[in-house]
Each structure stands twice: as structure tokens, then as C-alpha cells.
Amino acid sequence: MSLSFQDLILTLHKYWGAQGCVILQPYDMEMGAGTFHPATVLRALGPDAWRAAYVQPCRRPTDGRYGENPNRLGHYYQYQVVLKPSPDDLQQLYLGSLIEIGIDPLKHDIRFVEDDWESPTLGAWGLGWEVWCDGMEVTQFTYFQQVGGFECRPVTGELTYGLERLAMYIQGVDNVFDLKFNDAGVSYGDVFLVNERQMSAYNFEVADTDALLDLFRKAAAECERCLDAKLPIPAYEQAIKASHMFNTLQARGVISVAERQAYISRVRDLAKGACEAWIEAKGAAA
């Protein structure tokens, strides 16, 4: 019997926990990708070794489809693994995790297809692949080269599993809402369909753009205040907040192409500031 959605998570936790990762809980803030979690962004900077794995709920307001599209969600889960420095056998470790969740690599076609990763809002980039399983992208595999505009030394290896896709693949389901969430008859739709409908309506129709703009400005200002106070972690949290406001504003369609760039560079500057302060604080502590 194939793994339920929650057993998929538990299996990965067990696997990566055995590899020396700290198993963290989701960060309690809205973010667009698991990478934004401080356990990835901030820990990728500086010389210290670090291994962590966690589930992160991701909010992408523009991807919401009122629960009508079988493959697109405005809120979904990523399973994030970071290993620093990236071990020599990272690909093998990763493939081991696929076998663990029930994918037989002699039956399925697993491929590493070039896909370089870049996050303009984090000033971060890396090289790697999207991992295909029978033509489906199941994981983003990246060796971080820069974060917040700073070189990563040593390099962090990052694995981002798209949990819903992976579960759909394992369970042989064509509609995300049909996924079995557990083995007691609860489906993904039972848990999240209403959320998708309501959040889509909010993000596309209801969200007060003036209020969002205001929140964006306030978060940006708060971030700067934290930077002045040499508090990189709260500063970074405010940068994440600003980033999410920007994403929601985009879903409301109130940001023109020309303005878009300005917002992105504003968020990037905030994130960079937090990264810089983090490195400085580390240096001072050492």
C-alpha cells in the first residue's frame, strides 16, 4: 500500500533524521518557499556545519485556483533538507530517500535535469537540477553558491521535495484533492479544499491593497529598525513579511511590470541587510 500524505512526511523525517539532520517544525510565518526559512537562508551563511530537515507550508497567492485545478494550489507543502557542507554522496543520499518512500529506481526513470536556481528577492543563486521521476519534477536539487549576495563557504546542498506532487505520484492520483492524507479515510481535499477556495477569493478579490501596501512599508521600516539595532533574525523576519505582502499585491494585480522590479530590489536589499548583519554577528561571536 502506498504511503499516505502524512506518512510520506514521517518517512522523510525518519530518513533525514538518521542522517544527522535536526527535524524542525515549520516556521510560523507566511513564505513563498521553504528556502525562505531562516534554517536555510541564514544557516547557509558562515563557516558552521549544519544539517536540517523540515516541512514548510508555502503560500503563492498567484497560483491559487479556487480549488478547481487538479494540480495548482495557492498553499502547499515543501519538504526541505539542507546539508552543509554538502556531502560527496548527496545524490546517493537523496536517491536513498526516494527508495525509502517506495520509488523503485529500476522501475522508474529518475533523471537529473539541469535547472539552476535563483531567488532575486533573496539575492541568492545556485546550480543543480530538477529531479524527474518518469517525467515529473519531484525535487529541486541545488548547491548554493550565494545567499544575500554573499558567497557560501562551505556550500550548502539543498533538496526541496514538492510533497503534493510526490504523494500524487506515489499514490497514483490525478487530482491533488483526492490524495489520501492519512490511512483513516481523510483526503487532502477534506483538509484543504475550503481553504483554497477562500484564500483564492481573498487573494484575488478581497485583500485590501492599500492595507497590504501599508503593511509592506511598515515591514520594510521595521526591518531597517532591527538592522540598526543589530538584530539580524527579527530583521530577516520582517523581510519575509515584506516579501509575502509583495506576493499578495502581485496576486491582486496592482503591481505594474515597471514597479515589480523596484519591489523586488527593495525586498532583496532588506534580506541582504539581514544576511550581512547575521554574518557580522557570527563573526563577533567567534
Partner: protein, 721 residues
């Protein structure tokens, strides 16, 4: 002598980078061994997603020993000179030879063993191989395209020892990632390829390409379908697999409502699948994917997995397509005023307005015959697809989607085609529109973007052309030439510039209008050279026609250039060019700017009368004519040396002018050809710089007349050779 094997094993190298990496590997290996003086035979290079492989045949055992005698300072020279020489040669004073008061050093180089040179070569290759993007990993500092894991380096049967950032060379590699993940020991170049084949790795990319090409076709044929051949996909899939297995799958036929281009593009770009058709006609609901494994269930699960991925993608595409169908393009077009085309050039709606105006003008001014109303409508709807969901998902299908939507929404075919073809031709070799509405829209699209960007001084510079204006100009040229369109380019460009100015996007455009129009013409002349290069039209001849400054009709200019090329490549032409250059040189050397040569034949006769010519001092035109008439009767008799040339010019000038006027450029060239003998004779028998000042002046004037007559057809000073 022995064969050398090098394998660099890494994590997956992007498919698109492998061909260049193979070439670079071969080039650097040849370069570095040559520098070291190591003789090698043929080099073979191969690649798989995980390996770069080089096999060099017949590598010499060592470099040859050499002995070289170096001359040093005189023995009487100051001590510093000797010290310097000793430092340079690394010898001591006792080792020098002294002959005739001069020191000599004998530098002997022993032959270096091949293994040492190969070890250096490997290090330099890993350091220097130019990847488009490279990275670091772990805690190391080495850079490679992806983490490098192993080096197999074997000369004959011996390992070439080398260590790079903790990676030591050896004889061990791995096979296929899943079929044979364990270590394999390689004996050398001789057994490498076959040992790997036994472990499910086909090392040679050409062989994998062949398997994919033939296997994909066979899979389609077996299903009664025809494969849509795609060599780019063959190469890409060969770069993604070590053990390629083409598999055919099917998708739900209901997706075939979605435009064909969308289905093919989704399969190709997102999934790397080949598409299939029924008897080379309509698209078939099938695909061929290339797996990297001989699956233990025969590929059933792989095909099923891929089918589901494709179905999800096509469902997404169909959702957008159905949404887009519901909104008339006319409605969509209204949203274009919310999209900035460029911060200095207003919105896309502004651009549409300019293109529509220009496209209509092309019809109304008679440049091309088309229904002006249809042309304008096509232009006004052309950019509407930019706000559709479909183009949002597949930006490369802009235009194509608009064309499909227009047709589905009941627009006439000419308009739908005009929308579809507006961006054509994209680069050389692409289809050039020929249907009148398509031509009008496509041409206006290109002229507008070129003029708009030039108008705000965003011109291509050096290798930078961020708005692809060069490509646009070549596209415009191809449309004009292919359709034989007689367009006064200056007028069109000024019109397009005026359109920008009228939108008062940038008031400075108006002030720069004159200058910009000239720059634009030069830009087009430059692009014409590039565009015609492949057709073998010489760039210097294009210059020769354009520098006259009167030519701005590209079709006519090209006819003139081609006639000119036909002429200068004949013996007559080459000879005339020589004479022209000689005349021009003399005039230049003498700084002769002489009296203006006049255009009517009667007036042209005047300088013939030379020093005795009373006209030199006559200013009054009426008198001039009268005296000239008197003089011309005796001119020939008095001037035997110049007579033939004068007569030839008298005959040729009007013919050449008439030829140019009537666009009979071959006729104009023939008129020039008639000057060849007379000018040669003139140079053979006449000394231009005669001591007699009057004769000299007369002859210089005649040379000037000859030069100017030739220049009326083309500026021969621009012609090379």
C-alpha cells in the same frame, strides 16, 4: 607508444553544455601536450551526462631530450652581466664554456616521461576548461560544472598519478547509476568503452543519438504513426541518458482541441518528448519519451507516469485555451494600455496605435496592395494575445496564439494570418510573410520598434542589442526584398519617428528627427550587408551604392549593387576600377578640386579648350555658351590626346545617367564599360602632370570628369581590390 584514457566522472552535466565541453577538452589536451612537446596521435572525445572522456592514440613515451647552446656576455663584461646570465640559465660559472672571450651556456633538457606531462595536462584541463557556468561544492575550492568525483587516467596499462583537490586518479569508475552502481576497474583505453557498455553505459554520444533517432522512429512506426523528427531533441536526450530507451505513450485525444503548437511545445520544452502525427498530417495523441533505464517492467510504469505528467500539463494548457477563447481579442486589446512596453516608449497600446498607423500608411501610400481596413484591424488585434493566459504560460507562442484565437473568434483568415505572422521572420532562415496583410503588419511591427528605440537613443552598441533591433532590421529587409516592395525607406522611417513624436512620449525625438533618420538609414545599410552576406553580395559594393546618399529604396539599391557586382567582377570592370583608382589618386595627390563639372553635355565641353580657352575668364553664361559653341568645333583637332576619352565620356555619361534613372543598372554598367579602353589609352599616352600648366589643368579636369561620371553610378572609391 601507448594509448591514453582520461575519464572525468562528475554529477550530471547539463545536456546543452556537453558538445562544447568535448571540443574544449580535445582542444586543451592537444594544446597542453603540444606545449610540453609530447607527441600524440589521434584524439577521440566522448561524453555522457556523468562523464567527459578523452582517448589519445599513440602517445610518445617521453618528450625528446634537447641540447641548446646559449650565448652569454663577454668575459670582459661587468660582473653583474655574468650574474644575470647565470641566474637566467641556472648554471654556475664553472659550467660555462668560454670561447673567444665570450661565455656560452649549454642547456640540456632531458626528455620528460609522458606520465608527468599528462598529469600536468589533466590538472590544467580541470583548472581551465571553460564551462558556461561552474560551481563549488562541499568545503572544497575546486570549480567544475557540477561536483567532480573521479579521475580515471591510464596510459597504456599504467595509472597516471595525479591528485586534484583531494580527488586521486585511478583505474576505477562506476557504471549506470541504477543498473550498475558499483565500482568497475578499467584496464585502459582498449577496454574502457566495452566495459562500460557491459555496465549499461554507452559512452559515445553519437551512438546514443543513433539509438534515440532510430528507436523513437521505430516506436512511432510500430504504433502506425509518423515521428516528427527533431534533431535538437535527439541531441538533448542523448545528453540526458547513459542508456537511452525510447518508449511510446499515448494521451487523451480530447486534448487535440488545444492548438497544435501548444501541444508540441509542451512536449518538447517541458518534457523533452517527440511528437507524432498521423501520416504526416494532423497531430496524433501520442508521444515518445526517452528513458535512461531498461526498466524491469518493460517501461510500463515509466510510460504511465509520463502520460500522467503530460495530461496534467495539457489540462493546464486547455484550461487557459478555453478561458482565452471566451474573451474576444478586441476586449483583450483594451488591456494593453496597462502594460508598459518600455519606460521611455509608453504602453503596448501606444505601440499598437503606431503600428496600426504605419501599416495602414504602407497600403495607402501604395507600397503594397492590401485591404487597408483588414490591415489596420490585424494590427490593432496583433498584440492582444499578450494578455491571454496561454501566452502567459507559453510566451514563445505570442502571435501564434493570437492567430488561433482570431480564427476561432471568426476573424477573416487574412487577419488571423496577419496576427500569426507579425513577428516573422525571426532570424535568417525563418519563413518570410508574403500574404499582403501579414506583410503590412510584420513590416510595420519591425519598423516601429527600430524607430521607436532609435528615437529615444536606445541603439544597439557593439555586441549589445537588448531590444533585438538588428534582427528586426534584417527581418524588415527580408520582407522588403522577398516581396519586391518599393519603399522609400527615409519616408517610412520619418513617418514612424513622427508617430512616436506625436505620442509625445519624448519631445526630444522631434529635435533629433533629422539626425535619427540618417542614422537609421546607415543602420539599415549595415544590416543589408549582413543580410546579403550569405547570398554572396559584397559589402563594399553595398557601401559604394549607399554612400551616394540618394539611395533609400532597398530593392532598387540591391538591384544596383548586384549589377555593380556583375560588372566589377568582369575584366572590363576590374580594369575600369583600376583606372578609377589611378584617376582618383592623381586628383587627390594634386589636391585637385577643379572647376565643378557641369551636368549638361554642352557645358561639359568647355574645359576641353584648355589654356587658350577664353572661357576661363568668362563669367557671363550667355557669352560662355556662345564661345563654347565656337570652340567645340575645333576641340577634337587640337586635342588629339584627350579626344577619344572626351568622345567616350560624351557618349557614356548620358547613357549611364539614363540607365540609373530607368533602373536599368546593367545598362548603366555597360555605359561605364565603354570607358575602359579610352581611359586606359589616356593613361598610356598622356602625361597628366604636363609642364605646361594649362595642359595639366585641362587633363586634371578631364580625369575629374571621368571620376565623377563613374561615381554617378556608384562610389567606386568604396570598392575594394
Amino acid at each position: 607508444m601507448a594509448d591514453f584514457l582520461l575519464e572525468l566522472l562528475s554529477e550530471e552535466i547539463p545536456a546543452r553544455m556537453q558538445a562544447k565541453a568535448r571540443n574544449d577538452l580535445s582542444r586543451l589536451f592537444a594544446e597542453f601536450t603540444d606545449e610540453a612537446g609530447l607527441k600524440i596521435g589521434a584524439i577521440d572525445v566522448h561524453s555522457t551526462p556523468r562523464r567527459l572522456v578523452l582517448i589519445a592514440r599513440e602517445v610518445a613515451d617521453a618528450t625528446e631530450a634537447s641540447r641548446e647552446e646559449v650565448k652569454g656576455p663577454r668575459s670582459s663584461a661587468p660582473l653583474q652581466a655574468l650574474d644575470g646570465f647565470l641566474r637566467k640559465t641556472g648554471l654556475s660559472r664553472e659550467q660555462l664554456e668560454e670561447r673567444d672571450g665570450v661565455y656560452f651556456a649549454v642547456v640540456e633538457r632531458k626528455g620528460r616521461p609522458a606520465a608527468a606531462i599528462l598529469a600536468d595536462t589533466i590538472k590544467r584541463i580541470v583548472a581551465d576548461l571553460p564551462w558556461p557556468k561552474s560551481m563549488r561544492w562541499g568545503a572544497g575550492s575546486l570549480r567544475w560544472v557540477r561536483p567532480l568525483h573521479g579521475i580515471v587516467a591510464i596510459l597504456g596499462e599504467d595509472i597516471v598519478p595525479v591528485e586534484i583537490d583531494g580527488i586521486a586518479s585511478g583505474a576505477t569508475t562506476v557504471g549506470h547509476r541504477f543498473h550498475h552502481p558499483g565500482p568497475i576497474t578499467i584496464g585502459g583505453a582498449a577496454d574502457y568503452i566495452e566495459k562500460l557498455r557491459a555496465c549499461h553505459v554507452i559512452v559515445d554520444q553519437d551512438e546514443r543519438e543513433r539509438i534515440i533517432r532510430e528507436g523513437a522512429e521505430a516506436a512511432a512506426t510500430a504504433a502506425g504513426l509518423t515521428l516528427l523528427a527533431d534533431e535538437g531533441l535527439v541531441v538533448e536526450n542523448a545528453g540526458l541518458t547513459e542508456w537511452p530507451v525510447p518508449l511510446l505513450g499515448r494521451f487523451d485525444a480530447e486534448f487535440l482541441d488545444v492548438p497544435r503548437e501548444v501541444i508540441v511545445l509542451t512536449m518538447r520544452t517541458n518534457q523533452k518528448y517527440f511528437a507524432c502525427s498521423n501520416d504526416e498530417g494532423p497531430l496524433a495523441p501520442a508521444f515518445v519519451c526517452v528513458a535512461n533505464i531498461a526498466a524491469n517492467d518493460g517501461g510500463e510504469a515509466i510510460v504511465e507516469g509520463n502520460r500522467r505528467v503530460l495530461a496534467a500539463r495539457l489540462a493546464d494548457a486547455r484550461f487557459f485555451w478555453e478561458q482565452d477563447l471566451k474573451v474576444p481579442l478586441e476586449e483583450q486589446a483594451k488591456k494593453l494600455d496597462g502594460i508598459i512596453f518600455h519606460e521611455k516608449l509608453g504602453t503596448v497600446a501606444d505601440r499598437v496605435e503606431r503600428i496600426a498607423k504605419l501599416a495602414r500608411w504602407l497600403v495607402e501610400s501604395g507600397v503594397l496592395k492590401a485591404d487597408a481596413t483588414q490591415v489596420e484591424r490585424a494590427a490593432r488585434l496583433a498584440k492582444a494575445d499578450l494578455v491571454t493566459g496561454m501566452v502567459g504560460e507559453f510566451p514563445e507562442l505570442q502571435g501564434v496564439i493570437g492567430g488561433y484565437l482570431a480564427e476561432a473568434q471568426g476573424e477573416p483568415k487574412a487577419i488571423a494570418d496577419g496576427i500569426r505572422d507579425q513577428y516573422k521572420p525571426v532570424g535568417q532562415g525563418d519563413d518570410v510573410p508574403t500574404a499582403p496583410v501579414s506583410v503590412a503588419v510584420a513590416l510595420a511591427d519591425k519598423l516601429d520598434s527600430i524607430c521607436a528605440f532609435f528615437g529615444v537613443e536606445l541603439k544597439p552598441t557593439g555586441s549589445k542589442d537588448p531590444f533585438a533591433l538588428r534582427r528586426a532590421a534584417i527581418g524588415a529587409i527580408e520582407i522588403l526584398v522577398r516581396n519586391d516592395l518599393r519603399l522609400n525607406l527615409t519616408e517610412a522611417l520619418r513617418g514612424a519617428l513622427a508617430n512616436c513624436a506625436a505620442q509625445s512620449i519624448d519631445s526630444a525625438i522631434v529635435h533629433r528627427l533629422d539626425r535619427t533618420a540618417v542614422e537609421l538609414l546607415e543602420f539599415f545599410a549595415e544590416r543589408l550587408k549582413v543580410q546579403q552576406r550569405e547570398a554572396g553580395v559584397r559589402h563594399d559594393l553595398i557601401d559604394a551604392v549607399f554612400t551616394l546618399g540618394e539611395e533609400d529604396d532597398l530593392v532598387r539599391a540591391l538591384a544596383r549593387v548586384k549589377a555593380l557586382q556583375g560588372f566589377v567582377e568582369t575584366e572590363d570592370g576590374a580594369d575600369l576600377l583600376t583606372a578609377y583608382k589611378r584617376a582618383a589618386n592623381i586628383l587627390k595627390k594634386e589636391s585637385w578640386t577643379g572647376p565643378q563639372v557641369m551636368s549638361s553635355p554642352a557645358e561639359q565641353g568647355i574645359p576641353q579648350t584648355g589654356e587658350e580657352d577664353p572661357l576661363v575668364l568668362v563669367e557671363e553664361p550667355i557669352l560662355k555658351d556662345a564661345i563654347a559653341e565656337m570652340a567645340s568645333g575645333q576641340a577634337g583637332a587640337e586635342l588629339p590626346d584627350e579626344k577619344t576619352l572626351i568622345a567616350a565620356l560624351d557618349a557614356a555619361e548620358p547613357k549611364a545617367s539614363a540607365g540609373v534613372e530607368a533602373e536599368d543598372f546593367i545598362g548603366a554598367m555597360a555605359a561605364l564599360a565603354s570607358l575602359r579602353e579610352p581611359i586606359d589609352d589616356f593613361f598610356d599616352h598622356v602625361t597628366v602632370n604636363d609642364p605646361d600648366a594649362a595642359k595639366r589643368e585641362r587633363r586634371l579636369n578631364l580625369l575629374m570628369r571621368f571620376r565623377d561620371a563613374v561615381n554617378r553610378v556608384a562610389d567606386f572609391s568604396k570598392i575594394e581590390g
